[in-house]
């Protein structure tokens, strides 16, 4: 407005109103209230959420506290159970690996002549040489036996009268190789040098009046292996 303005405005400031259909003096407070209400609602929503999470956390904490003892017991029981399960499994392996040789070897009495004396029957388990495996700390420790199977050998030692004794020992060897023993023995051999004559025995197994010289023999048999499965 220039200094010489002739604009004498008699309108009071309070009489000046807006021509806009949106009346700011109404809309501003309404919007302010609306925004404030929205903020309160959002704040309350989050407050309720936080309160709910807090109460849930408290409940869970209480539950954890109450269950802590039980849980440790359960963990211990589970560990024990695992151990026992492993043992049972191992035992089942051992059970499965058991070769029943008693009945078969009992038939041995029928195959041995009166003039042959079996002095020793030794059933030996020969473990396989262990593979040199690089230890892996991450690999789980096997629960059962480390070997999957063991070879079993049967050594029969005895003596026989010199007359016809070799035939009797051969007969025994054939008997052992016969199907009657096939469920126990895979192969049977008389190792070299195992069939020999001995004369300086103090007493004869035939008694005081028997011959002083005897044939010593030894039969080595490869038995069916023990399978830990």
């Amino acid at each position: 407005m220039s200094p010489a303005s002739l604009h004498y405005n008699f309108l009071h400031e309070s009489e000046r109103v807006s021509s806009s259909p949106i009346r700011l003096r109404f809309m501003v407070p309404i919007f302010s209230c609306f925004i404030a209400a929205c903020m309160v609602i959002i704040w309350q929503f989050y407050a309720i959420q936080v309160e709910a999470v807090k109460s849930r956390k408290t409940l869970v904490d209480d539950e954890i506290t109450t269950m802590k003892g039980t849980y440790s017991n359960i963990v211990m029981d589970r560990a024990l159970e695992k151990e026992l399960q492993a043992e049972l499994k191992q035992l089942s392996f051992y059970k499965a690996s058991r070769n029943r040789v008693g009945e078969t070897l009992h038939q041995l009495t029928n195959c041995v002549s009166d003039r042959v004396q079996v002095t020793e029957v030794r059933l030996a388990i020969v473990p396989l040489p262990k593979e040199i495996v690089k230890p892996n700390p991450k690999a789980p420790v096997p629960l059962g036996p480390t070997n999957r199977f063991d070879t079993v050998s049967l050594r029969i030692s005895g003596r026989a009268q010199p007359e016809g004794g070799s035939g009797l020992v051969d007969g025994l060897l054939r008997s052992l190789q016969s199907p009657a023993f096939s469920n126990v023995i895979q192969s049977a051999v008389i190792p070299k040098g195992a069939f020999r004559q001995e004369s300086n025995l103090r007493t004869s197994f035939m008694g005081e009046g028997g011959p002083r010289e005897v044939l010593l023999f030894e039969i080595n048999c490869n038995c069916l292996p023990r399978r830990y499965e």
């Binding site: 407005m1 220039s2 200094p3 010489a4 303005s5 002739l6 604009h7 004498y8 405005n9 008699f10 309108l11 009071h12 009489e15 000046r16 109103v17 807006s18 021509s19 806009s20 259909p21 009346r23």
Partner: protein, 337 residues
């Protein structure tokens, strides 16, 4: 809300660009003069001008002001803002001896008054408007509907404002006296470089001239205007007798301005005379031995999209829009805060 208004929301100060000026209490049978102006860069365009079929009589007392009409303007006049010019017999415009001076009219009723000094040696120009009329006018245009009042002025000051803009545009540095002819009075204002030096009112208006002619020629007042424009009828003698006291006042004003304000009056202007301009000019020449120019209300304004017939009608009624146009022009200068 258009983009310009939206941008204005974020401006601290912005100038009004679209205002409709309305003259209330003009006492015209045609209706309420309304002019819608729009500022486009440095030019002002007349978007619409016409007479609105509204009851535009100002209440003369408090009791009458209790009845509050509400106006709804036609779409082409629905600018965002309205500047109201009030033609009130109770309004006061005079020079005061100093600023803050109380007016004697205040003893009868409440007034809203403004005084403004235009120079150290020029007495302040005081204007006052009855409070009940101002508050009644302010409520004519309700909130939430275009337009709403942004300015409330007295018609004489609004008309002076219209001329002041013309003086500024044409760089009128010399002294001049302008006669603003209204229906019931004539305001005479001496300007110098657009600054009002002296304001006087003479109780001779266009209605008085009409009535004088009608009584002397014994004819209907309604047909007097046609006679005024009819070249075959000479009304010089009637005009001379009626205008002589008025022009005598103009002479006194010229003399006062030249002697007391040391400003030589070189030009005279006539504004607001609806009919009989030629008689005003010839009588002036006869009495004052000088020329008087006619000030056209829309002289420096661009006319908007108006058809030829409307434009012709507007030209014939142009003086009647003086108050409304002046009020709107004054409001266009307002810087909103």
């Amino acid at each position: 809300m258009n983009s310009r208004n939206f941008k204005n929301l974020f401006k601290r100060n912005h100038v009004l660009t679209d205002v409709v000026g309305l003259e209330i209490g003009a006492g015209l049978t045609r209706g309420v003069p309304a002019v819608r102006l729009r500022r486009q860069s440095d030019k002002v365009e007349v978007v619409a001008a016409g007479f609105l079929d509204l009851k535009g009589d100002l209440p003369e007392n408090h009791a009458a002001a209790e009845t509050q009409p509400v106006w709804q303007l036609p779409g082409r006049f629905a600018a965002p803002h309205a500047a109201l010019a009030l033609t009130s017999t109770l309004g006061v415009i005079r020079h005061a001896t100093g600023t803050g001076e109380d007016i004697p009219e205040k003893k009868q009723m409440m007034y809203r008054e403004i005084d403004r000094a235009f120079g150290t040696d020029i007495p302040p120009l005081l204007a006052a408007m009855p409070d009940f009329q101002a508050s009644w006018a302010a409520k004519l245009l309700p909130e939430g509907r275009r337009p709403t009042a942004c300015s409330l002025q007295l018609t004489s000051l609004a008309a002076m404002n219209c001329f002041q803009r013309y003086a500024m545009c044409h760089s009128l540095d010399s002294g001049c006296v302008v006669l603003f002819v209204f229906q019931s009075y004539t305001a005479m204002v001496a300007f110098h470089s657009g600054i009002p030096l002296l304001y006087r009112e003479h109780p001779l208006g266009f209605l008085h001239i009409q009535q004088e002619i009608a009584s002397r020629m014994q004819m209907d007042v309604a047909t007097v205007n046609q006679f005024m424009e009819d070249a075959s009828v000479d009304l010089s003698l009637i005009f001379e007798s009626v205008l002589r006291p008025l022009y005598r006042q103009v002479e006194i004003i010229s003399d006062y301005v030249s002697r007391r304000r040391n400003t030589q009056v070189s030009r005279y202007y006539l504004a607001g005379a609806v009919a009989g301009e030629s008689y005003w000019i010839s009588v002036f020449k006869q009495i004052m031995q000088g020329e008087i120019d006619v000030f056209r209300t829309f002289s420096d304004l661009q006319m908007g999209e108006t058809d030829a017939s409307a434009l012709a009608d507007l030209k014939s009624t142009e003086p009647l829009f003086l108050g409304a146009t002046g009020a709107a022009l004054a409001a266009l200068e307002v810087v909103e805060k």
